[in-house]
Each structure stands twice: as structure tokens, then as C-alpha cells.
């Protein structure tokens, strides 16, 4: 869910440029790590996953002014490498749809990508000890805590804390009222409540979907990561 909806021209150059460089570096590492044959099998899956992420981001949650992104689920199902690439694709497509600036796409990829990566690794550890649904929920929560902290940190460092409140809007119309209503609540406590609700929602949904899968398509959850000789876990 961490995702900065900033238009171009607000984030300072040094920040978005270095985020792009970081993003490209991670992409290169991920591309190097993957096993070509395995990847070929999972590319359609990854594309479908990315499409699902785009769709989930346009589903209004109604009562909280944030939206899901399913990026943790994406990490769990597509694996870290393809998961990260899917996040990149999603963010480029978003900015090509006029959602958020082109310049912040790199930063957003890093933020959402961190959810995919952390979610994946926490899940692989946890799933040995508990039900997959619980493991997924906890991994999602863990990943989201980290990424939200990162997001707030970035915003605070670049444009000042008070404005860093997540005035997320869903869809293109009507979201404004949400933002306005939460702005009128007093700053931090309202923001904290919103963020926590958002994180819980995404964690809950991730857990529910994984639980559904463990009944219907267990093969998807047990699928190994797409790496050469499992070099990374």
C-alpha cells in the first residue's frame, strides 16, 4: 500500500534520481539471479499478477483513504525477483496512465518492491511454523510496517512531515472528500489511524486470499522461488 502519489516537480531532483538508480540496480540484481527457464514459465503469471495489482489499487476501500496494492501477495506468489519486476511494471504503467509523476516511479518501485521482498522472505520462514494464511497475514503486516516507515521517512526528509500525510485518493473521482475529511482531523493521530487501518486491511486480505489458495490451489503457494539453484533462500 505504500505508494507516494506525487506529481512531477515536487520531489527534489537528488531524491528521485537516486531512487531511480537504486531501482535499476535492484532490477539488475534480480534479473541476474533468475533462472531463465523457470522465469519463462512464470512470465504470464507475473503479468496477470501485475494486472491484478493495478486493479486492486483502483478498488476503493470505502471508509479509509488508502488503497491496497497486493504487493506482498505478489511477492509471495511470484517470488522476489519476478515480484519486484511486477512492481516496477505496475509503477511505470501507473505513471503512463497519468497517475503520479514519471519521476517518482523509481521511488515507488523501491517502496512497493520492499513489500514484495520482505513479504516473500518472512513468509518463507514463517510458513514452516504455522498455517499459510496466518503466515501470510503476519508477513504482510511486517512488510507493510517497514515500507510505511520508509515512505514516511522519505516524505519527511524531502518535503516536510506535515504534508507527508498519506492523502491517498482512490480512483480519479470523489476521493477528494476523504482527503479533506482526514485533513480536518488533527494531523498525526488521524494519519496513524488511517495507516494502521490500511495495513490491517491489506494484511487481512492477503491472509484471506492465501487461505483460499491453500484450499483450492495449494501448488501456487508451495511454488519455489525462481532462482538458480535456490541461491537466495
Amino acid at each position: 500500500m505504500s505508494h507516494i502519489h506525487l506529481p512531477d516537480g515536487i520531489m527534489p531532483f537528488a531524491w528521485w534520481a537516486s531512487a531511480y538508480i537504486g531501482c535499476i540496480a535492484v532490477l539488475c540484481i534480480m534479473l541476474r539471479l533468475i533462472n531463465k527457464e523457470e522465469v519463462r514459465r512464470k512470465i504470464p503469471f507475473t503479468g496477470v499478477m501485475a494486472a491484478l495489482m493495478l486493479i486492486s489499487m483502483s478498488v476503493p476501500l470505502g471508509f479509509i483513504p488508502v488503497h491496497m496494492s497486493l504487493s506482498v501477495l505478489n511477492g509471495i506468489l511470484a517470488g522476489p525477483a519476478l515480484g519486484f519486476i511486477a512492481v516496477f511494471v505496475v509503477n511505470i504503467m501507473l505513471s503512463l496512465m497519468g497517475h503520479g509523476g514519471i519521476s517518482v516511479a523509481g521511488l515507488n518501485t523501491l517502496l512497493m518492491g520492499s513489500e514484495a521482498l520482505i513479504g516473500y522472505y518472512v513468509f518463507t520462514v514463517l510458513k514452516r511454523h504455522m498455517k499459510p494464511s496466518l503466515a501470510a497475514g503476519i508477513s504482510a503486516l511486517a512488510a507493510l510496517v517497514v515500507s510505511v516507515a520508509l515512505m514516511l521517512g522519505v516524505l519527511a526528509a524531502t518535503i516536510g512531515v506535515e504534508e507527508a500525510l498519506p492523502g491517498h485518493e482512490q480512483g480519479e473521482k470523489g476521493g477528494g472528500s476523504n482527503t479533506v475529511s482526514f485533513l480536518s482531523l488533527s494531523g498525526w493521530s488521524a494519519a496513524a489511524v488511517i495507516l494502521i487501518l490500511g495495513m490491517l486491511t491489506e494484511a487481512l486480505v492477503t491472509g484471506m486470499i492465501v487461505s483460499f489458495f491453500s484450499r483450492v490451489r495449494p501448488d501456487l503457494i508451495d511454488a519455489p522461488a525462481v532462482f538458480n539453484n535456490n541461491r537466495m533462500g
Partner: protein
């Protein structure tokens, strides 16, 4: 999502901008955004706005859609303009105009160039895996949006949506997403199968014929001139 509307404009438009090559239009967009980022005065930002606006008008785009697309960044930048840049009206206006300019540059690109052509240009720089994922994402997005629309229709027809019952809507929405996800994964299995049968080997071949005509040269030269104008410190 405005994706479908944008896509439709890009695919079905007939203006000279639609006919220009995707490579030159992407280049123009990047130059314009660079101009937005370096422009330091309202006048210069206004000039870029004018440039983009004239081209959008010439492309025969659906202005209602364009308006919707611009409102979004305008709204966000307004929040920043209002709160953080209280020093002067000029700074606030600059923040907003920057956001709007950049958005217009992108909108100009996407309403005159189909995603397919944009991917084809990107494929010159990006690794095949990523380009393939772009293409699969784009196509599945349309298929899934249709499925989603049908699911939403059924839920409404079967009384599963009440404007005032939030928890109730939430439960049915969750159920719907679950169904959609399961369908999507089955779909990805089928996609994979048919693609391997058709010889897919980890690279979807694309048509990349970027002809550079007079239009392309004019567009790029004009945007370079604009950028130069923006960079130069005018002492008038």
C-alpha cells in the same frame, strides 16, 4: 479506470500526432518533462503549458477525459501548494503548474500513442523479460477488467451492493476479489500453455518500425527549442 478511454483515443485517433512515430513522441515527452523540472519562472511554465495544450487540442482528444486526467495531479499539487509553499502565491502557482505541465506532457503521449508502441520503444532499452511482462500485464488488464465488470454487474443484480452497508459491501467485495484472483491464475495457466504451443521462448516478438518523418522532426525540434528557451536566462 481511464485506461480504456485513453487506450481508445490512442488507438483510434487520426491526427498527425497519432501518425508520428512513438520514438519521437517519447523523446518529446522526456524533453518537455526536463523542461518542467528546470523551468524557474511562471512564464516559462506557462509557455510549456501552452505548447502541450495546443498539441493536445490538435490531436482531437476527448477534452472531458483530458480534464479528468489533469484534475488528479492538479489536486495533489494543490495540497502541497496550499500547505507547504505558503511563502508566496507565485511559488504555490509554480508548484501547481509544474505538476500540471508534466501531467499534460504524459497525457499528450498516452492519448496519441498506443501502449503497444510505447512498449516497442521501451523494448529497445529494457530486458526482454520486463517487456514481456509489460505486454502480458497490458493484455490481462483488459481481460480482467471485463471479468471484473461482469462480476460487479452480477453482484449488483443479486442484491449484493447497498450504498449504506459498508461492512456488507466489504465482505462481498472481498469475495469478488477472491473469485477474480482464482480466475486470473487459471487464466495465466492457459496463457502459458497456448504461448508455449505457439513457440513462446521468453520473448514476444514485436513490430518495431519507427519511421522518422517530417512530423517527427518538427515535434522534436520544437520541443528542443522550447527546452532551450526554458534553460536560457532571459534578461528582458
Amino acid at each position: 479506470m481511464h485506461l480504456a478511454a485513453v487506450d481508445y483515443m490512442a488507438v483510434n485517433g487520426k491526427s498527425f500526432l497519432h501518425k508520428a512515430g512513438p520514438h519521437s513522441k517519447i523523446l518529446m515527452t522526456l524533453i518537455l518533462i526536463a523542461g518542467v523540472l528546470v523551468a524557474d519562472s511562471l512564464a516559462k511554465l506557462g509557455l510549456i503549458f501552452l505548447f502541450a495544450a495546443v498539441l493536445i487540442l490538435m490531436s482531437g482528444a476527448d477534452l472531458k477525459e483530458i480534464f479528468h486526467l489533469v484534475v488528479y495531479p492538479a489536486f495533489f499539487s494543490m495540497v502541497f501548494a496550499l500547505i507547504s509553499m505558503q511563502q508566496s502565491v507565485i511559488t504555490g502557482a509554480k508548484v501547481m503548474l509544474r505538476a500540471i505541465d508534466a501531467a499534460m506532457a504524459v497525457i499528450l503521449l498516452i492519448t496519441t500513442t498506443s501502449y503497444v508502441d510505447i512498449f516497442a520503444v521501451l523494448s529497445l532499452f529494457l530486458p526482454g523479460v520486463i517487456v514481456d511482462i509489460f505486454i502480458f500485464t497490458y493484455r490481462s488488464l483488459f481481460i480482467l477488467l471485463e471479468k471484473l465488470e461482469n462480476l460487479l454487474k452480477s453482484i449488483r443484480l443479486r442484491g449484493g451492493y447497498h450504498p449504506l452497508r459498508l461492512a456488507f459491501n466489504f465482505k462481498n467485495t472481498a469475495g469478488m476479489i477472491g473469485v477474480l484472483i482464482i480466475h486470473s491464475f487459471d487464466m495465466s495457466d492457459r496463457l502459458y500453455r497456448i504461448y508455449t504451443l505457439r513457440g513462446y521462448s521468453g520473448r514476444i516478438p514485436l513490430t518495431r518500425k519507427f519511421k522518422t518523418g517530417a512530423c517527427d522532426i518538427v515535434l522534436v525540434v520544437m520541443s528542443v527549442l522550447l527546452l532551450t528557451g526554458v534553460i536560457i536566462k532571459w534578461n528582458i
